[in-house]
C-alpha cells in the first residue's frame, strides 16, 4: 500500500497543484443516525493528472466528488482548487465556482431535453455571460472535438447514450474549468461505447485537462494515470500508473 499523500510529496513533480484537500470530513444523518461518509481524507491533484477514485459502493467516492466540486460542503477540513478554499464559499460564490472552476460529468448525462446539443453546451457559457457569437463558436468547436460536429442541432432524445455523454463532456468543458469531475462517466454505457468514452477522456487528459473520475469501471480506472482506492470514507491506496512526463508542458 502506498502513502495516501504520496502524490503531493513527489519531489520530481513540479506541476502546480490544482486540487488540495486536507483532513476533509463529511458527516450527515441517516434516519437520525450520524454517518461519516468521508473521514479525514487528504488528497492533492496536480495539473494534467487523471485520477480515478475507486472503491466499493458506499465508500464515499461520490460524496468526495461532490465536495471537490462544491455541490456539497464538508463538515470539516479544507478543499482548495487553484488556491481557493471552496469549502468556505457562500452559495453565490460556490455557484460561480461551479460555473467556471470545475466541469461536471454525471453518470446519467443530465442534458436539458428541450435544448439541442449545441444549446446544452452553450448553457454554462450563457450563464457566464459569454457573448452569443463566442459561445456558439466555442460550442461548435467543443462538439467537433468530442466527435459530434454534425449533431450540434440534434436534441438529446435523437442521440445515443454515448453521444449524450460526449455532449455532457463538451458542456463540462465549456467555461475552460481547471478541473473536470466525472461521476461514473461510463456507468450508463455499453462496453464498446464505454471504451470510446475512455479514449475521449484520455485524449482530453493528453491535451492538458485535469480529470478526477469516480468509477467502478476497471477499464476506466486502468486508463487513468493514477488510481486512488477508498474504503469506509478514507483513502487506503494511491497508485501512480503513468507519470506526467509525457504531457506537453
Amino acid at each position: 500500500m502506498t502513502d495516501p499523500h504520496a502524490s503531493s510529496s513527489r519531489a520530481a513533480d513540479v506541476r502546480p497543484l490544482v486540487l488540495s484537500a486536507r483532513d476533509v470530513r463529511r458527516e450527515y444523518p441517516v434516519a437520525g443516525v450520524p454517518v461519516q461518509a468521508v473521514r479525514g481524507l487528504s488528497l492533492d491533484v496536480r495539473e494534467g493528472e487523471w485520477v480515478a477514485i475507486v472503491g466499493p459502493s458506499g465508500c464515499g467516492k461520490s460524496t468526495l466528488l461532490n465536495l471537490l466540486g462544491a455541490i456539497d460542503r464538508p463538515s470539516a477540513g479544507r478543499i482548495e482548487i487553484r488556491g481557493e478554499d471552496v469549502a468556505r464559499l457562500g452559495d453565490a460564490a460556490a455557484t460561480r465556482f461551479r460555473l467556471t472552476g470545475v466541469g461536471f460529468v454525471f453518470q446519467r448525462f443530465y442534458l436539458m431535453p428541450t435544448l439541442t446539443a449545441a444549446e446544452n453546451v452553450e448553457l454554462p457559457m450563457s450563464e457566464a455571460k459569454v457573448p452569443r457569437a463566442a459561445r456558439e463558436a466555442r460550442a461548435r468547436e467543443l462538439l467537433a472535438y468530442v466527435g459530434l460536429g454534425q449533431r450540434a442541432d440534434h436534441r438529446p432524445f435523437q442521440l445515443s447514450g454515448g453521444e449524450q455523454q460526449r455532449v455532457a463532456i463538451a458542456r463540462a468543458l465549456a467555461n475552460r474549468p481547471a478541473l473536470l469531475l466525472a461521476d461514473e462517466p461510463t456507468g450508463e454505457l455499453d462496453a464498446r461505447t464505454g471504451t470510446e468514452m475512455i479514449a475521449l477522456l484520455d485524449r482530453l487528459n493528453r491535451d492538458g485537462t485535469t480529470i478526477v473520475t469516480v468509477t467502478h469501471d476497471e477499464e476506466l480506472a486502468s486508463a487513468a494515470r493514477r488510481v486512488v482506492h477508498m474504503r469506509d470514507g478514507a483513502i487506503v491506496d494511491d497508485v501512480v500508473k503513468r507519470p506526467l512526463e509525457d504531457l506537453a508542458r
Binding site: 443530465y110 436539458m112 454554462p124 450563464e127
Partner: protein
C-alpha cells in the same frame, strides 16, 4: 436561455399545458364577468339617468319614481313653481298609468303602460321610427305594443285609460294616431308602452288624474349646486320629495349590494382557482425536473435564474389564460346578459355586464400577479434543492 427553457418546458407537455391554460382561461373569464357584473348594473343605471339629462326627480313625498301609483296634484302649478327656481332650466312632468286598446284582429283588449309627458322635454324614450308627438291626438308606442295590438305606424286607434270588463267598455277613451315607434329606456323588454301628451292622459283619467303628475324630472343649469337646489325644492312643498342623481345611484347601490357581494365572492373564487391551477402545474413540472434543476445548479446556474425560469412558466400560463379569458369573458357576458335581461320588470336596455377596460385590465393584471405568486413557492423550492442529495435520489430513482 432561461426563458427559452421555461417555454420549452411548457411546450414539452403540450396537453397538460393546454388543459391548465384552459382552466386559467375559464377562471379569467369568470373573473372578468364578475368584475363586469359588479359595476355593470350601477354604471348602466347611471348611464340611463344621466342620458335623460335631468339631475333631480320630484316625486310624491316618501316615494321613489314610479314605485307606486301615487301622484301629486296641482301638477301645472307645481311645475311652474319649480321652473321659476333660478337654477332650474327645464321641468318635465310625467304621469304614468294604464292604457287599454282593442286589438286590430279580434277586438280583444290589450293593456299596457301609458306615459303622459311633454314631448319637447321628454327623455323617456328614444325614437326609432316615425316622428315625435306634435299634437294632443298623436301617440308614440313601442314595438311590443305594436306587436300585441296588431296595429302599425300611421294607424288611428281608440285608446283608453280604463277598462270595464263586465260592460266590455273602454273608459276615458280617445282616438289617436300612432306617429312614432320608440324604445322606452326604463321599461322592461316586452313590456307594452305608449306615450301621449300629459294633458291628454290627464283628461283621459278624468277627476282621478286631472292636473296630476307621478314624477317631475328637473334639469338644472350647468354649475348649479344640485344638493342645494334639491333641498330648496323639497322645502318648497310638503307634498313632494326631491331625489338627486347621486342619491338615486346610492339607492340603487344599496339595492345592488347583494349582486356586488356575489360578484366579489365569485371573482375571489376565480382568482383562487387560477392560483391553484398554476401552482399545481408548476409544482408538478418542478417535481418532474428535480434532476434537471439539480444539474443546472451543479453546473453553476444561479438560484435566481432557476427562480426566474420557474416563475416565467407561471407568468406565461397566467398571461395566455388571461388574454384568452378576455375573449371568453366577453362572449359569456353577452350570453348571460341576454338571460338576465329577460328578468321581469327590468329595463330592456339595462346591462348587467359592462365592459370597462380599466377595471377589466386591473382584474386580469391581478390574475397575472396571482400567476407570479403561484410560481413563487415551487420556484423557491426548486432553487433551494440540496444539489447532492437530489442527484443521489434521482440516481436511485
Amino acid at each position: 436561455m432561461m426563458l427559452r427553457l421555461a417555454f420549452a418546458t411548457l411546450v414539452r407537455r403540450r396537453a397538460r399545458t393546454a388543459l391548465t391554460v384552459a382552466g386559467v382561461t375559464v377562471a379569467a373569464a369568470m373573473l372578468l364577468d364578475m368584475v363586469m357584473l359588479g359595476s355593470g348594473m350601477r354604471e348602466s343605471f347611471r348611464g340611463f339617468i344621466e342620458q335623460q339629462g335631468f339631475q333631480l326627480r320630484i316625486t310624491p313625498r316618501g316615494t321613489m319614481p314610479f314605485d307606486s301609483e301615487t301622484t301629486v296634484g296641482g301638477a301645472a302649478a307645481l311645475a311652474e313653481r319649480i321652473a321659476a327656481d333660478p337654477d332650474v332650466v327645464r321641468v318635465a312632468p310625467l304621469l304614468g298609468t294604464r292604457i287599454f286598446t282593442r286589438r286590430a284582429a279580434d277586438d280583444s283588449v290589450t293593456a299596457g303602460f301609458l306615459l303622459g309627458l311633454r314631448p319637447e322635454v321628454q327623455g323617456d324614450y328614444v325614437l326609432a321610427e316615425g316622428r315625435e308627438i306634435a299634437a294632443d291626438d298623436e301617440m308614440v308606442v313601442n314595438g311590443a305594443w305594436l306587436a300585441a295590438t296588431g296595429h302599425a305606424l300611421g294607424d288611428t286607434v281608440e285608446v283608453a285609460q280604463g277598462w270595464e270588463p263586465q260592460m266590455r267598455r273602454l273608459r276615458g277613451a280617445r282616438t289617436v294616431r300612432i306617429v312614432g315607434r320608440g324604445r322606452f329606456v326604463m321599461l322592461a323588454g316586452g313590456e307594452r308602452a305608449a306615450a301621449l301628451r300629459i294633458g291628454t292622459v290627464q283628461a283621459m283619467g278624468g277627476d282621478a288624474l286631472r292636473d296630476r303628475a307621478s314624477v317631475m324630472l328637473v334639469a338644472t343649469r350647468e354649475g348649479a349646486a344640485i344638493e342645494a337646489v334639491r333641498r330648496r325644492l323639497e322645502a318648497s312643498d310638503p307634498r313632494i320629495s326631491a331625489l338627486s342623481t347621486a342619491a338615486a345611484l346610492k339607492f340603487v347601490d344599496e339595492r345592488l349590494s347583494y349582486f356586488r357581494q356575489l360578484a366579489f365572492i365569485l371573482a375571489s373564487v376565480s382568482l383562487a382557482v387560477g392560483f391553484l391551477l398554476v401552482t399545481t402545474l408548476v409544482t408538478v413540472s418542478v417535481n418532474e425536473r428535480l434532476g434537471e434543476i439539480a444539474v443546472m445548479r451543479a453546473i453553476g446556474v444561479a438560484r435566481w435564474r432557476i427562480v426566474a425560469q420557474v416563475m416565467a412558466e407561471g407568468v406565461a400560463l397566467s398571461l395566455v389564460g388571461a388574454v384568452l379569458g378576455v375573449g371568453l369573458g366577453l362572449v359569456t357576458a353577452r350570453w348571460l346578459n341576454g338571460i338576465l335581461a329577460a328578468f321581469p320588470g327590468l329595463p330592456a336596455a339595462f346591462d348587467f355586464f359592462l365592459f370597462e377596460p380599466s377595471a377589466a385590465f386591473r382584474s386580469l393584471g391581478l390574475l397575472v400577479l396571482c400567476g407570479i405568486a403561484a410560481g413563487a413557492w415551487p420556484a423557491w423550492r426548486a432553487a433551494t434543492l440540496p444539489i447532492a442529495q437530489t442527484l443521489r435520489e434521482e440516481a436511485v430513482a
